[in-house]
């Protein structure tokens, strides 16, 4: 199981689609930086293919005023949780 780290928004970039196409059936996806926009209910459909494997970084949601606006299916983790996700995965890939 690999952890994919994504910092681009599906509203303006094809990079999220690249990340999804490279993901295996157990892989997880963590949204960071501008990527956390993807946690908005209006954009969450881009991640319909990976139920239960989508995470978003709390600190980046908070800074952007998006922490209270996330879709309920997104698992919000802080930077310690980010480290934990990297521990649990056998390796990480970044999409930017």
């Amino acid at each position: 199981m690999k952890l994919h780290i994504l910092n681009r928004s599906p509203a303006s970039s094809q990079v999220p689609a690249q990340a999804l196409s490279a993901m295996g059936p157990e892989d997880r996806l963590l949204l960071i930086e501008d990527g956390v926009q993807g946690a908005l209910p209006a954009l969450i459909h881009h991640y319909a293919a990976i139920p239960g494997r989508l995470y978003a970084l709390r600190e980046d949601l908070v800074a952007r005023g998006l922490i209270g606006r996330c879709d309920g299916t997104v698992q919000v983790v802080d930077v310690d949780g980010f480290v934990t996700l990297t521990e649990e995965a056998e390796q990480t890939l970044s999409w930017y």
Partner: protein, 130 residues
């Protein structure tokens, strides 16, 4: 676990450097070891010794130096990416006949081989891109 970080974004231009520094501190706080940060592409600009950010913004160059001082994290800067971007230590400046230098310890200019080595020797290599 042993971690490495690959940083590809310029400081202040995008969030990559801030994200990498935040992640580095968090993994160290959890008891992991951070072997090295490898600066590549525009990430090499993090080594600019003359950086003078406004006082109400984080000083990233100092932030990296502190990681080195307190946790022995190697700060490895890709030499090929650095030279064309104007980042030279004293030795490279002399070799290129330039007066002055823009990179100094604890940052070290090194080859891409160090990145490959880092990938082999660490349990996790985490990339932060622009």
């Amino acid at each position: 676990m042993r971690y490495g970080i690959l940083l590809l974004g310029a400081p202040y231009s995008d969030q990559a450097s801030h994200s990498a520094l935040r992640f580095a501190r968090a993994l160290l706080a959890r008891g992991h070891r951070l072997e090295a940060v490898f600066f590549y592409h525009d990430g090499v600009y993090n080594a600019a010794r003359l950086a003078a950010p406004p006082q109400d913004e984080p000083h990233l160059v100092d932030g990296w130096a502190t990681l080195h001082a307190e946790h022995g994290v190697a700060l490895q800067v890709c030499i090929a990416a650095a030279l064309r971007r104007g980042l030279l230590d004293e030795r490279e400046a002399a070799r290129h006949g330039k007066a002055g230098h823009s990179v100094e310890a604890p940052f070290e200019l090194t080859g891409v081989g160090q990145l490959i080595d880092l990938g082999q020797r660490c349990d996790r290599l985490v990339t932060f891109g622009p």
